[in-house]
Assembly symmetry: C2
Homo-oligomer: 501 residues x 2
């Protein structure tokens, strides 16, 4: 999109001597980049959301090693157009309906730009007072928007996987078994430890359990009901059974907005069971917590006020660029207890009102992530954010209605939040394997068409297509275009080899 350089592009003076890019060059390249990005954001809806590129093509097009001498920025930007953009799957695209979409919104992008320029490392209050305090302010604002208890402590991790790892490390610490000091191995007196979550929970729960040394056996999936919500009775039975068998139940993870169907576990009942079992209770609201920003949906977190910890990802459905996952906890002293380890070279005099964010997780260093969250909350305001989420919920129901009104389409789960699970069922085809192959082919056709990008899941053995509305620029015509693409793919499939079976 940037015109190719005419003749040899100039090098910035600092490239060939010492020092950084000079201010004049920074301005020039920066302004060019603003135009480039603005143009990218304007034109991205005209591109296929899913990259259509051969594996290894980008790698093969680049030199095997780095250049010895400096290259002009124009050459780098030219390669961006020529090589990088064609190999992008465009997440910042209004017809990206796969997984959970993530929006790099205008104010969020500008927030990241400032973060890169400041380049602070918020390990200690002292090393980054602005980042440390804004992380407190912005997470408190987020908590207030979503109706969380005002006393909770919030901090930002990269992803919900890390937030859940931190929460479960605190749960391990809360056992009082001297695990931080003595570890788990070679201690015959220790019971085996278990974490419970529904069979719909995110894979990061099991991954955190493995990382913490509990092993896959330390994770017990609990049955969910017909609407994919954890069955509290099954949870209570599992805990009782495990206790009898010598396990020590350590934590229960409930989900508000599961990855496959956005289902919501019955939080009050689970809270009760977790409390009775003296388990840490963690709520994974990475996706669904955002919905509580809508006054009419605040009840989605009812019961969560009893949680020990809860995660909401502003980089999922709150228009903040990746990465930004907020972990709230009612028991920050246990999070610090699990992770705080202060070497001499990082020791600072203790002072009230100063928290050192390095004490809150496995990583010492951390970016100034609060800035983008703070800027998004201010730029749109809570009502502006709520209005956008409300529209996404409406569009999801619109999509579900449009599919149900057409012959051959069926929903495979109740529509929850802004997630629609569905499949196409040609007349007379009942075999699950054939339906799976048919829908897989259909999905591939839609994705290859460039009209939209959707993903899949498997629900009770039924291969399902899945569309999540979540990009800030998604409009009704975008969803209509997805419906058209699905219909076209189904027609093509009916006319194709599958019809001949």
């Amino acid at each position: 999109m940037i015109p190719p350089p005419e003749g040899p592009a100039p090098l910035d003076p600092a490239q060939t001597t010492l020092g950084d890019m000079d201010a004049e060059s920074f301005r020039r390249h920066g302004h060019a980049l603003v135009e480039w990005v603005a143009r990218y954001l304007e034109t991205v809806p005209g591109r296929p959301p899913l990259a259509d590129v051969e594996p290894g093509a980008l790698t093969a097009a680049l030199p095997p090693g780095p250049p010895a001498g400096p290259e002009p920025m124009a050459a780098v930007l030219a390669d961006l157009d020529r090589l990088v953009v064609p190999a992008l799957t465009h997440w910042n695209h209004p017809r990206f309906f796969a997984y959970f979409n993530s929006t790099g919104s205008g104010p969020g992008i500008l927030g990241e730009w400032l973060t890169a320029a400041f380049n602070v490392n918020a390990m200690l209050w002292r090393s980054a007072p602005a980042a440390t305090e804004l992380e407190g302010v912005a997470t408190r604002w987020l908590g207030e928007m979503c109706g969380l208890p005002s006393g909770w402590d919030g901090h930002i991790n990269d992803t919900a996987s890390t937030s859940t790892l931190v929460a479960l490390a605190a749960a391990r610490e809360a056992l009082g078994l001297e695990i931080r000091s003595r570890g788990l191995a070679g201690r015959p007196e220790l019971p085996r430890l278990r974490v419970y979550a529904s069979d719909q929970a995110h894979s990061s729960v099991e991954k955190a359990v493995i990382t913490l040394g509990l092993g896959r056996a330390g994770f017990r999936p609990v049955a969910s009901d017909a609407a994919f919500r954890m069955d509290p009775e099954a949870l209570a039975r599992a805990i009782a059974e495990d206790r009898r068998a010598g396990w020590r139940p350590m934590a229960v993870v409930a989900t508000c907005g599961t990855t496959s169907t956005a289902s919501v576990d019955p939080l009050p009942a689970i809270a009760e069971i977790a409390a009775a079992a003296r388990c840490w209770w963690h709520v994974d609201a990475a996706y669904g917590g955002a919905l509580a920003a809508l006054p009419e949906h605040r009840g989605v977190l009812d019961g969560a006020e009893r949680a020990d910890s809860l995660v909401i990802n502003p980089h999922k459905w709150l228009f903040v660029p990746v990465d930004c996952s907020v972990l709230f906890t009612a028991r920050p002293e246990l999070v610090r207890g699990a992770f705080s380890l202060v070497p001499e070279y990082l020791r600072t005099p203790p002072a009230p009102g100063q928290r050192n964010l390095m004490d809150y997780g496995p990583a010492l260093g951390r970016r100034f992530r609060a800035l983008k969250l703070w800027m998004v909350l201010r730029y749109f305001g809570t009502e502006g954010i709520a209005a956008r989420l409300r529209e996404h919920v409406r569009l999801a129901h619109w999509l579900a209605g449009a599919l149900e009104a057409r012959p051959g389409w069926e929903l495979t789960a109740p529509v929850s939040m802004a997630v629609v699970c569905f499949r196409h069922r040609p007349a007379g085809v009942d075999d699950e394997a054939a339906l799976a192959a048919h829908n897989q082919a259909l999905m591939d056709r839609v994705n290859r068409s460039g009209a939209a990008f959707i993903s899949h899941t498997v629900l009770r053995g039924r291969f399902s297509l899945r569309a999540a509305v979540g990009h800030i620029r998604t409009t009704e015509p975008d969803v209509a275009r997805l419906v058209e693409a699905l219909e076209a793919a189904a027609e093509a499939a009916d006319a194709g080899p599958a019809a001949g079976r």
Copy 2:
């Protein structure tokens, strides 16, 4: 620095309806921000590097909750000037000599700007082919620049803490004790597990050991010699002793560029011992690996070619903004073995040449971090980077020489790479506690003066001041200014209460 808005600032149309900031507004705010950032980078050398702000002041100056309605971007930017900048400790400052400085260089900042705009999540090859492949390319370029074996596999984590956690998780997996499946707890047949690193190793090693469930007892610090390098004989003795006592040695971590003094452990001897003990051998070259980019210093990594894993942080001394930590490994299959867990909704058809980066660590989501690394390598070229590092090494020795030439100053460790450890010793003062208090006061005075920001460490019980040269715009006059500030602080201390003792 941005002039205050005249009259009520306008809202962008999209703020009050739906959708994102419109393209016109994005251009306007983006260009203003380029000017703001350019001006920030130009003027930052005139600011004190360490924030002079009361704890809680920023928090108190902001509203307790988020705004309901949208706010004009001009109001946000005005608060940036009024509230955020005064509370910044300026890492992107040529006289930031504390910890390990980190440069947000021009090309690195521009790389981050693109990353924010693309906003891809590189969990699967399919979800981000460009990010996935560029992560392979840029880490291979980095490895080549630093002389690492060409067959190693590289991927990017946020910080070295995470890279080390990943490496040690792979080490745990390499034991073949079914820890991934069965965990560590409640298994009487399992031995206690231990990880070894020198008493100068970074605290993140011990933190990773805790996180993985080995406990603090699972970390054994090994004595270092007079130059703060791990003593290989002490390592061999510790391993032998532990074996006799029933421990299973799991991993050895050597450091190339320790945090306190930038000392380098004797890699070949440690490689030998780790191999004989059948331990995973991880090299923490987070800081020091960069030095190997200088042909005349390539030997600093001699022996590391035998490592199982090695970490280099481009966000430390390679002019890439935080966060960017590259973990190289000769055994990627064990990293994947430790972490791969693929739920149905993320299943993609296996294909050659496609790696899914979610398999390489605890976090599922990941930003497009390779772009900034790639842009920095191209913009400066390896020779340009080497020239800048060489200058930093020269400046560190210049600083050491300047101090040694002045009465009352002494080095407390050999100068290594670009790190200088020193202290001031007034005539007649020998008591360590008095010297510690004197140097602490001196450091505070320098830091409060606004001339420079330095930090401290304790070496064999001696409180030491510490300056690391690492910012791309640090010049000899910057270092000279530090020397002046140190001298002024020492004079003031001599004339002050301390002199009266």
